[in-house]
């Protein structure tokens, strides 16, 4: 069906009908004007901070419905495959087949042969995570050739610190007080591996990267009192996989710092649709009932507001905190923190976690005569708006970390960088990466998708790698180590594998196609983002995310014509008839063969 029919009412009707065997939706570039969000209207309501024990009047979106356009389609259980098709030549073939054979002519039903489509998308897992993980564990214990049925969603969080910390010693660090600047790295939509997530994710990634770039030189020159962490959490769309794991690691001394070291947190929520209006600073009213926490949060708000001449507002004092990674920190400890967003109450994003949340939605349009390289550098309004927010974030983090006010004006995000990142993360990551990626990254020519996916063999998702290496390039230093030393800097004096991570970067491609690789030392690290429920093997956990993805066989579809059953049965009937007749005739002939073929014998002597 065409994209216009892909609504909740149609899909529910199809789900309840016994005559639907599959659905193929033809994607369109722009969503319906009234908005479409297959996510729930209250995202992550069971794994957030508001429960019956903590802010019950705010739990389950009693107070504010964050995603009012959410129809929950992504959370329905469909018994048939649902494919999404690009609107290209092959889809035109499908349309033509329908028009030639399946359309009603003059009110009468179409005649055989009819056009049919077969969708293959066999899934190994059934029922729920508990069932399929139990079956997988059984296979792993008892079978010689274990067949896995499903895998937990996992990837890696990216984090870096201004002052490097000894990564091999986990747990509480003495005299370390850390301000965390956080953003999310993932998104989702109804369909697998389609998650353009421009407003939901890309705007916050780009802003935080630009803020890191703006802040680092000043922080190295005039170090602030507290340490600053830049963290990118992966898997937030699926019940906060990355942030819950980091908080769990912090609680159990498996992370480089622990919760006592965390001073405050500033999170960048959805900020892409500001359109020149004010930015909203959300905080948690329940933790603010405590006066110390309230004082710290108020101070934080003041320092943020005074960093830049940007219109900032606070929503009403009783409004809940929007769904954000900060909620997972609050579940454990009343950390003072803020979430920056472009919406006061419900999301301004009309396509939250859907396939229509693309760069086009953010009005990122280029004049048509630009080449791809020029498009990467064209400054759009969206990019300029994000640059302001990046400057604000960088300055407020610096101030919150105890940096001196006189250095504040040196911290400014660069619009060109923001433009480059914005186009790159939205549209073409390949071009952006020519200078800044390690040689092992693979080239992609389609827009990057932000669905977290699985990590078989512990590989890292390409977007996570991009963020890691871009951050390393921006905040790290170039060293004179050669390739083998870079991979193992144990024996090199002055270099420490505990404090830093070393990456071998291929460098910019020069005019005659050669590269000049070098070693970059930075404090950018990856931390595993796998839900603690799988570490604890509590697959039915209510505390942590238990999302898994089923294993599947090749996903494909084909169209063909189907003949009428009468014709098929007639063919079979004719065949059987021919066989029987030929058996009978052959028997007849062979039994009478003496007689039939006797003319060559000598003619009998006739007697007269």
């Amino acid at each position: 069906m065409e994209a216009a029919f892909f609504t909740r009412s149609t899909m529910v009707k199809m789900k309840n009908s016994s005559r639907v065997a599959g659905v193929a939706v033809i994607k369109s570039n722009t969503g319906p004007t009234e908005g479409f969000s297959p996510h729930t209207s209250c995202p992550n309501q069971n794994t957030g901070v508001y429960t019956e024990h903590y802010g019950p009047e705010l739990a389950n979106c009693n107070n504010t419905v964050w995603n009012p356009l959410g129809n929950g389609l992504s959370y329905e259980d469909f018994a048939f495959p649902i494919f999404s098709l690009k609107d290209d030549n092959q889809t035109q073939v499908i349309r033509k087949c329908y028009e030639d054979h399946n359309m009603r002519m003059n009110g009468s039903a179409p005649q055989y042969p009819l056009c049919a489509m077969q969708l293959f998308s066999h899934m190994h897992a059934v029922t729920d995570t508990v069932t399929c993980m139990r079956r997988t564990d059984l296979q792993n214990s008892f079978s010689i050739n274990p067949e896995k049925l499903c895998d937990p969603l996992s990837d890696f969080n990216v984090w870096t610190s201004i002052r490097p910390l000894n990564n091999s010693i986990k747990g509480h660090k003495e005299n370390e007080s850390v301000v965390i600047a956080a953003a999310r790295l993932d998104g989702r939509s109804f369909f697998w591996d389609i998650a353009p997530s421009a407003e939901g994710t890309v705007s916050s990634i780009v802003t935080l990267l630009a803020a890191a770039q703006a802040l680092y030189p000043v922080a190295l020159e005039a170090p602030p009192q507290r340490n600053i962490f830049f963290t990118f959490f992966q898997g937030e769309a699926f019940d906060y996989i990355g942030s819950s794991r980091m908080v769990y690691d912090m609680e159990n001394s498996k992370f480089v710092i622990d919760l006592d070291n965390v001073h405050s947190l500033l999170e960048i929520g959805q900020i892409g649709l500001r359109n020149g209006q004010s930015l909203w600073m959300h905080s948690d009213p329940v933790s603010r009932k405590n006066t110390t926490v309230n004082k710290q949060v108020t101070l934080f708000i003041k320092s943020v507001a005074s960093s830049l001449n940007l219109s900032l507002n606070e929503p009403s004092a009783t409004q809940a905190l929007p769904p954000s990674s900060f909620q997972r920190f609050l579940r454990v400890r009343p950390v003072p923190g803020l979430v920056l967003a472009d919406h006061q109450a419900s999301f301004t994003n009309r396509y939250y976690e859907s396939l229509y949340d693309t760069a086009t939605y953010l009005n990122v349009t280029y004049p048509s005569d630009l080449s791809p390289e020029q498009q990467l550098e064209y400054e759009t309004e969206a990019a300029k708006s994000l640059t302001q927010v990046a400057t604000l974030v960088a300055r407020s983090i610096y101030k919150q970390a105890g940096g001196e006010d006189r250095f504040l004006n040196n911290i400014t995000a660069d619009t060109k960088t923001v433009t480059l990142f914005f186009s790159g993360f939205n549209i073409f990551v390949l071009k952006m990466c020519t200078n800044m990626c390690a040689p092992s990254s693979s080239a992609e020519s389609s827009p990057p998708q932000y669905y977290i996916g699985l990590r078989l063999d512990n590989t890292v998702k390409s977007v996570t790698r991009f963020v890691q290496f871009i951050l390393a390039n921006m905040t790290g230093t170039v060293t004179k180590l050669n390739q083998s030393q870079c991979q193992n800097p144990k024996d090199v004096p002055g270099e420490s594998k505990d404090l830093y991570s070393y990456s071998w970067v291929s460098g910019p491609v020069s005019v005659n196609g050669t590269t000049d690789p070098y070693c970059v030392r930075s404090s950018v690290h990856l931390s595993k983002a796998l839900s603690p429920a799988f570490e604890l093997t509590d697959y039915g956990s209510r505390e942590y995310s238990t999302w898994t993805e089923s294993r599947w066989k090749t996903i494909r579809a084909r169209i063909f014509l189907v003949a009428s059953p009468q014709l098929e049965m007639m063919t079979l009937g004719v065949g059987v008839a021919v066989l029987l007749v030929s058996l009978v005739v052959t028997y007849f002939i062979s039994s009478k063969a003496e007689l039939l073929f006797s003319a060559t014998r000598e003619p009998p002597n006739t007697t007269y």
Partner: protein, 258 residues
């Protein structure tokens, strides 16, 4: 088109041939051996003609449709001629083999007459030819769809099956006439067999107008059936007697000791 069409087309294409094999050949091991040898000879002729065709196609201009069509016609004609050549070769081989068999066997008469050999070898040629014509089509017919999404006729499977049926029976009749012609040195009959084979093969170029190829083929089939019947020693009189079940008296009447 599903299993129904698969079985239907298999029965149509191989039904008569299978009936003939089961009821007349399967009991006699010597006939089975000669059947398989005949099939092998046909296979070798196909191998040679396909080799020639493959080489010419590689050397030709792949983009020119007219050239490819011309090459196809050339290939078909060459294949038909090679098949007939191999039929002749098989005939020669059988004559030699029969002499040899006679020499080593302990009986006075030949264990298998040349007429039976012609029938068996024709059926062998027919089996192999039918298999190569139709097995690919049958394997495709098992799937859920039918021909026609690009506008072709949906009677493809059933017409192919009927064509294969005709070809298998034709091979049998051609072999009978051919061997008879070789025995009696009737070169005109030989030429007619070759020409009719060429005609039937070239009629398939009329497809997808299936009527244009099937109807003439069946006409030729009935003509060849009659001719082979008379070569094999049948007459109208025998046939009439057979059909009216007056055979018992006839046999008794004709088997007076001489």
């Amino acid at each position: 088109m599903t299993a129904a069409v698969f079985f239907g087309c298999t029965f149509i294409a191989f039904g008569p041939a299978a009936a003939l094999f089961l009821l007349t050949i399967a009991r006699d091991p010597l006939r089975v051996i000669f059947l398989i040898a005949g099939a092998f000879f046909w296979l070798v002729s196909l191998l040679l003609s396909s080799l020639v065709w493959f080489i010419t196609v590689q050397m030709s201009n792949k983009n020119s449709a007219a050239q490819q069509k011309g090459l196809l016609i050339f290939g078909v004609v060459l294949s038909v001629l090679l098949q007939e050549v191999f039929r002749f070769a098989y005939y020669k081989l059988l004559k030699k083999a029969n002499e040899g068999l006679l020499a080593i066997s302990q009986e006075d008469t030949m264990p298998i007459s040349i007429r039976q050999l012609s029938y068996v070898s024709g059926l062998g040629f027919g089996f192999m030819s039918g298999a190569f014509s139709v097995v690919n089509i049958l394997s495709d017919s098992v799937g859920p769809g039918t021909v026609g999404i690009h506008g072709d006729s949906q009677h493809y499977f059933i017409s192919s099956a009927f064509m294969t049926l005709a070809i298998i029976l034709l091979h049998m009749f051609w072999a009978v006439v051919f061997f008879e012609a070789c025995e009696r040195q009737k070169w005109w009959s030989l030429g007619t067999v070759v020409l009719s084979h060429l005609l039937v093969s070239c009629l398939t170029f009329v497809n997808p107008q299936y009527e244009g190829s099937l109807i003439p083929t069946y006409i030729i089939l009935s003509v060849m059936a009659g001719w082979a019947f008379s070569c094999a020693g049948g007459t109208l009189r025998n046939l009439k007697l057979c059909l009216t079940c007056k055979d018992k008296d006839f046999l008794l009447a004709n088997h007076r000791p001489r």
